[in-house]
Subunit: 400 residues, 2 copies
Amino acid sequence: MMRTGNAVVAQSGGPTAVINNSVCGIVQGWQKHGFAGKLYGALFGITGVLTEKFIDLTAQDPKAVENLRHTPGAALGSCRYKVKTEEDYQQILDAFKKHDIRYFFYVGGNDSMDTADKVHQLAVKQNYEMCVIGVPKTVDNDLPFTDHCPGYGSAAKYLATTVMNTGLDLKSLITKNRVLILEAMGRNTGWLAAATALAKRQGNDPPHLIYLPETPFHRESFLKDVERVYKELNHVYVVVSEGIVDEKGQYVFAEASKDSFGHAQLGGLADSLKSMVEGELALKTRCVIPSTIQRSSMYLASKVDAEEAYLVGLEAVNLVAREKSGLMVTLDRVEEDYLCRAGSVELNRVSNVEKKLPREWITESGTFVTNEFLRYARPLIRGEVVIPMVDGLPDYCCFV
Amino acid sequence: MMRTGNAVVAQSGGPTAVINNSVCGIVQGWQKHGFAGKLYGALFGITGVLTEKFIDLTAQDPKAVENLRHTPGAALGSCRYKVKTEEDYQQILDAFKKHDIRYFFYVGGNDSMDTADKVHQLAVKQNYEMCVIGVPKTVDNDLPFTDHCPGYGSAAKYLATTVMNTGLDLKSLITKNRVLILEAMGRNTGWLAAATALAKRQGNDPPHLIYLPETPFHRESFLKDVERVYKELNHVYVVVSEGIVDEKGQYVFAEASKDSFGHAQLGGLADSLKSMVEGELALKTRCVIPSTIQRSSMYLASKVDAEEAYLVGLEAVNLVAREKSGLMVTLDRVEEDYLCRAGSVELNRVSNVEKKLPREWITESGTFVTNEFLRYARPLIRGEVVIPMVDGLPDYCCFV
């Protein structure tokens, strides 16, 4: 069989600046390989499979497809729907059977790789011949077995540049606000917050203090750190990861609600630290909360990242062309500074595993990162992406 | 006299992405005109004059000066020190006399134009021959007699692009978070929040609702608006100006503290609206608070804005070369779409006057802007600025 039948690509979880590059890579790879079937895009992730809402990507204007390479957000739509029940999985496979889908490309993070793996296992069990390939995507950079995740480099470049810019603003304007707290994303891992260290070119450059989920947060040490830097420099730039935890492993600030995967929904952390600093040290503090800006800022996308996001999409098609299934595409660093090639790993080794920032890449004090981390991260933010502009604003492509 | 003696340039108030373009224009204009004296930069605004902390800008590497054209923050340092007492003004003039300063360029907003005017008046009164020129700068765009203020176009371009990017993220990801509230700067005027309307290319594009200080904020109407849009689109993008007021003219959310000009320090507004929406409508809401990112994002600076910021600096020198004093440089729009020329206006007509967004440029509902506003704003965000990059991050120049 194979070489016949149709394909589905779906996007899952939080978008990144470059996630649509992977879709573009899959579409163009599919066409390059000359598959006879149609390549559908499922709308709004796996919910689009469950409800059989597909668009024919092979029928789109090639210009629109090419436009995906500089469009943030999830152009096919995405979701955080957690596939849990056997009924759900059967419904997915039934939809695939109904539409003769023999190839499934799932662009996502840890949870999505778990979903992809279970779809793959079920197909094997029911002797339905199909190829399931996971395509890595997450600004959080927490997938194992890949050197890094597409999406991370661009968010890292955005955050480091933002620290440089707002750091100049903080340093140069003498006002009462002498402390700035920037809240970075990255649920349980500090990769994003750590990347702001790239902004520091000289000793006193921001950021001055970085708080990561990998080392426990002590309120008293935090206040002492801020006070010490303030006495030395007369201003303090703090970066804090949204997922920092105390010694008991509890989130320092967590709202009561949880998302559909059961993860605590974070928010308000920077404000709670601001209250500490203003209350205990009497230093006026400003909060900068980029929130989804950091995962959608195409104008600060890294060229390396955008090209790799395209590459992992292309490689996913190469894998199914060789009838591979149950794999996630990886990026394997073959030259430290810098070359990455596409590889692959079994989905079941990836699913639900979270790769944390190694403790040895965090300084002993726990408030900065080592040169080894910087050597790792620096190549990932290189190069700029040119975005076609119309009337001073970007020209994007979105299917939803 | 004149043509002899030295000059001082100082930067005041919140920096903009392009404020250093004005300093660059002044330095290069000074050199082009062949003034014999030195051009000093006062460090940290007027406090640098009071404490006689100057650097010789004419002695700097021309490359560093040229680098100012793409560096955000205030490269000379800035402050919010309010010059109030006669002693302060005398001290400023005495510092000028001591260093034979015959030209004073003050780059700033409303408060700074008042300071510049008073220095000018005192010099006249004491028969100290000198030229004082105000150079407009403010992301708030609230200076009168000038079509717009250098700094506004870049912040406007940043905010509109950010609404497009985070709007795609919001629309494309189906999660519980279906409402997004972006908090824009702009103390008492809605120019910045209004500029996000440029992001809307089609009917359902974000932003969906814009709340401005020029029209009173009603809690009930706000909730009804959000509910209506949610029912129609399944997501809601709200932009709110930090300075919105209720029917009594009170800030909707204001912390107790005030800055040194007696202005209320705002913050936490988006969070308080989020509480309203979550409490009354049970819609999970995300806050995006770009804060100082919006006034320091050189990578989204408008080329038109950067060039005009340079132009007003250059024109300030042209004015003193013609022995003018007591003036602020203006931008006069001579072609609607689009040509601006430099003009000037008496400082005393500008100082402490705040130009609000005209009521007729706000829709009747009070939650959007008219096409007339869009025609005004669109040319101001045109064009991009190329920033020299080193290792994936910008190369900047800062003297403090």
